[in-house]
Assembly symmetry: C2
DNA sequence: TTAAATAATGACCACCCGGTCATTATTGTT
DNA sequence: AACAATAATGACCGGGTGGTCATTATTTAA
């Protein structure tokens, strides 16, 4: 059996290669068209299986999508956990830079998953879309609030700061940077982007030093 | 004739009331379903006209959508121009607060247009979507860069700051605040939201003072 | 009042959708 | 080799799509 309930046991029992080709085709189609506009017919064609088989593995388009986006979220979380653990001994601002760079690396390595992720965040044509978005947002805030609290404890940040407010600012900035980078690499298919290390450092530094005289 | 080329002259020559009902129905349908999933059949039904007539006024669904989103953008720009002019004598941070509040007021007054606006920003199922998004982003940055430069000239901001970087930070924050507010009022149908004046002031103040000790 | 010009209509078109299920092909068991 | 169990198939279903156009209704002009 499977840990999730999105796919039937029949899908898990398939040969790995077949599973991969189905997932690959689905990721492609959902990434390029969102949920509603994605075509099951195109997926089965690209995967090289019959429609009846697909609906034997997944009871509906909805459940197929659930399976796919859970893959995307699992991958994102792996990245975030990794950067959190690997940057334990860095100061707050270095850590923040590393989080941003980790996000950029993720987009470079998994552009199609990133596409699904952003579609999930930003449109409501996906099943459970609203619920997922709110869960993601609050998880992100919680994740970042930890960093802020650690930073305050370590005397790297002003103690008067409201951690939630700072986390909100960080999340806004992170989100926008990744979105800009994502739009750029989706268009140009190149990993070169104006979002380079200098640009990131300048943003983080501006946040660090503040705007006022 | 008309200043834009999205609608035929036939649409402009219609009685105002008829025009309004068509626009109203279209705004509804596009706001609730995005471009591709919006149904022309539903629009003509709600507007109380025949399908043939609609395609006589607008040559395609594409051009109808163009007409609608241009209305949305025009309305947004009116708001932004108003707050820019009305806050000329305020200091930088007060102005930024006012911009945010103006955005919130817009969402409260025109939730359906806001929905179209966010859909435009965040999904690519609309015609010319990518181009529009990039134009909007650079326009926003330009608009905010003006504020920053004025702030530096008036000695309200540190002179070492890179205006574009600050504008980017402002735009990220503004965007996220409005998005959160938008999601809240869409769900609750109430104008009450955790995005109140205190919350906004705290965010602006954090940006102002910076994070470091 | 009548005829010509214009506007409105909705049945119809080809196409695509998600999902079903009787039929066929493959596999496993004796 | 023969049979049963299981897996794969794709024609088919009802329904929806954007768009068209011959027909009908309305307005305008003489």
């Amino acid at each position: 059996m499977n840990s999730t309930s999105t796919s039937t046991n029949k899908f898990e029992q398939l040969a790995d290669l077949k599973q991969k080709s189905i997932i690959d085709a689905s990721v492609n189609e959902f990434a390029n068209n969102g949920f509603k506009n994605a075509s099951v017919n195109k997926i089965v064609e690209e995967a090289g299986i019959s429609k009846g088989s697909l609906f034997n593995y997944f009871k509906s388009k909805n459940l197929l999508f659930d399976h796919i986006y859970q893959i995307a979220l699992r991958e994102v979380k792996t990245y975030l956990a990794k950067v959190r653990d690997e940057s334990k001994n860095d100061d707050f601002f270095t850590r923040f830079s590393k989080i941003i760079n980790s996000g950029i690396a993720f987009i470079n390595k998994h552009p199609r998953l990133a596409k699904i992720y952003f579609r999930l965040l930003n449109s409501d044509d996906s099943p459970h879309g609203k619920v997922i978005v709110q869960k993601l947002h609050s998880e992100a805030i919680r994740y970042l609030t930890q960093f802020v609290e650690t930073g305050i404890e370590r005397n790297e940040l002003r103690s008067e700061l409201n951690p939630t407010t700072v986390a909100f600012l960080m999340e806004s900035t992170l989100n926008r940077i990744l979105q800009v980078h994502y739009l750029e690499i989706i268009d140009t298919k190149s990993e070169l982007s104006k979002i380079d290390n200098n640009w990131i450092d300048e943003i983080v530094d501006t946040l660090k030093m503040g705007l006022s005289k």
